[in-house]
């Protein structure tokens, strides 16, 4: 595998997390929905409103990532290329669980030297069906039916507790997602009006809403 190493250390204050990227993931009957707000901001300036934070890894796996865009894009590509390399070498596809654990392992390895400040919602569809993994920047991993990263969680985990059901159809899942997005519009002080939404099914990954620069 390819692994880069930094020869300089970052300032200690970088441990403080920015939480303003919001990610939502929902697992349904035969799909996973990943949603990421598409604002890219620096301090008080909104630099870009159509940023695609959902990295497509292969036909059936994608990860939504939050954090400073440098780390996000660097880590995202690093993982994507290594997973593709594995699949070329092996001749088969990695299961979602294996890919998620591999990703978490890379975060864990880098954690005590040059950590990546990336929070991830890792979604995929494989022979065991749809699944979603929550991976935070400290390399904690958890398989979940639905999950959030960023401030969104404070608002939406309870909303999802209320509205989420197992085995929802795609229509129902998208309705629940819309409830979540609307809730943020109502109660969250920062603007999250634009979202990129991707849906992973057995037929592949398709863009449901928003701009797509991360294929």
């Amino acid at each position: 595998f390819v692994r880069q190493q930094y020869s300089f250390t970052r300032k200690k204050s970088n441990h403080k997390q920015t939480m303003s990227d919001n990610l939502i993931g929902i697992v349904g009957q035969d799909y996973v929905i990943l949603a990421a707000d598409s604002a890219q901001a620096r301090s008080i300036v909104l630099m870009k409103e159509d940023e695609d934070k959902i990295k497509v890894i292969d036909d059936h796996k994608a990860m939504a990532m939050s954090g400073p865009s440098g780390d996000r894009e660097n880590f995202g590509e690093f993982i994507e290329k290594n997973i593709v390399l594995y699949e070329l070498r092996q001749g088969g596809s990695l299961s979602t669980k294996a890919a998620a654990y591999y990703t978490r392992g890379e975060l864990a390895t880098a954690l005590r030297s040059s950590p990546y400040q990336v929070n991830i919602l890792f979604g995929g569809f494989d022979q065991h069906g749809p699944s979603l993994y929550f991976i935070d920047y400290l390399a904690a991993i958890q398989k979940l039916p639905f999950g959030c990263q960023g401030y969104a969680g404070y608002f939406l985990l309870s909303v999802l507790d209320r509205h989420y059901k197992e085995n929802m159809t795609l229509e129902e899942g998208l309705q629940v997602l819309q409830i979540c997005i609307d809730q943020l519009k109502t109660r969250f002080v920062l603007n999250t009006k634009d979202w990129v939404i991707k849906i992973i099914t057995k037929d592949g990954i398709r863009l449901h809403q928003g701009s797509n620069s991360n294929e």
């Binding site: 092996q90 990695l94 669980k97 294996a98 890919a99 654990y101 591999y102 022979q127």
Partner: protein, 254 residues
């Protein structure tokens, strides 16, 4: 003659051969035989125990059969000391994979790892190749039961039935004519015993001289295990094979 191109593993002969690799395979063809038979419910690995002496302390470990991980076992033919190094490497490889991906290593991938190591010793470093061939038996979610054979060159292939070590050519030809896709474990076991008895040195075959293991998955629990064949099953299979062979002899004599 060929002598000039012998000593360095890292060079080709004018005819385009790697003599050291071929000599390694020659060493293996003098070693105790081993064979593997694939069936629909599991894989039988059988091996001839060469080092038999009354003075030999019965040890827990076998010189022929090794477990690489829960779901992969292998049989060895060749220099045991060389085999130990590669087995250790294979075991580490399997655990490394499990650590990274939290899933058992796909069988073919494990075989590739060992073979890539073997290949390295044919191309650089100036060290001799490993004098070992392996038969790997494993189960994974993607392809189910699989049997692979690797040799000192680092080449490997997937097989329905295969033999390595002494008399492997004659063993292979019997396997070719008698293997059937519908085989269940017991059929595979009987075929293995039959082939071993026909190709081994000794005139009388008994269970002591053979090491037979089974790689199988329990359908209910989903657990895969590489275990020695149940003693009773082995005895029954032995008896059936011996009876069948005697009948064959009588027919021939008539």
């Amino acid at each position: 003659m060929a002598r000039r191109y012998d000593s360095r593993t890292t060079i080709f002969s004018p005819e385009g051969r790697l003599y050291q690799v071929e000599y390694a395979m020659e060493a293996i063809s003098h070693a105790g035989a081993a064979l593997g038979v694939l069936s629909t419910e599991g894989i039988i690995l059988a091996a001839e125990k060469k080092t038999l002496s009354k003075l030999l302390e019965p040890s827990i470990s076998s010189e022929k059969m090794y477990m690489i991980d829960d779901h992969i076992g292998c049989a060895v033919a060749g220099i045991t000391a060389d085999a130990n190094i590669l087995i250790n490497y294979a075991r580490q490889s399997a655990q490394r994979y499990l650590y990274t991906y939290q899933e058992p290593i796909p069988v073919e991938y494990l075989v590739q790892q060992v073979c890539d190591l073997k290949q390295g010793y044919t191309q650089y470093g100036g060290l001799r190749p490993f004098g070992v061939s392996f038969l790997y038996a494993g189960w994974d979610e993607q392809y189910g039961y699989q049997l692979y054979q690797s040799d000192p060159s680092g080449n490997y292939g997937g097989w329905k039935a295969s033999a390595i070590g002494q008399n492997h050519q004659s063993a292979q030809s019997i396997l070719r004519s008698e293997w059937k896709a519908e085989f269940k474990v017991y059929d595979a076991l009987k075929l293995a015993i039959k082939v071993m008895s026909k190709t081994m040195d000794s005139t009388t075959l008994n269970a002591e001289k053979l090491d037979i293991s089974l790689l199988t998955r329990d359908a209910k629990s989903g657990r895969v295990a590489f275990v020695e064949v149940n003693a009773k099953l082995l005895a029954d299979a032995f008896k059936e094979v011996q009876d069948a062979l005697e009948q064959e002899k009588e027919k021939e004599n008539k």
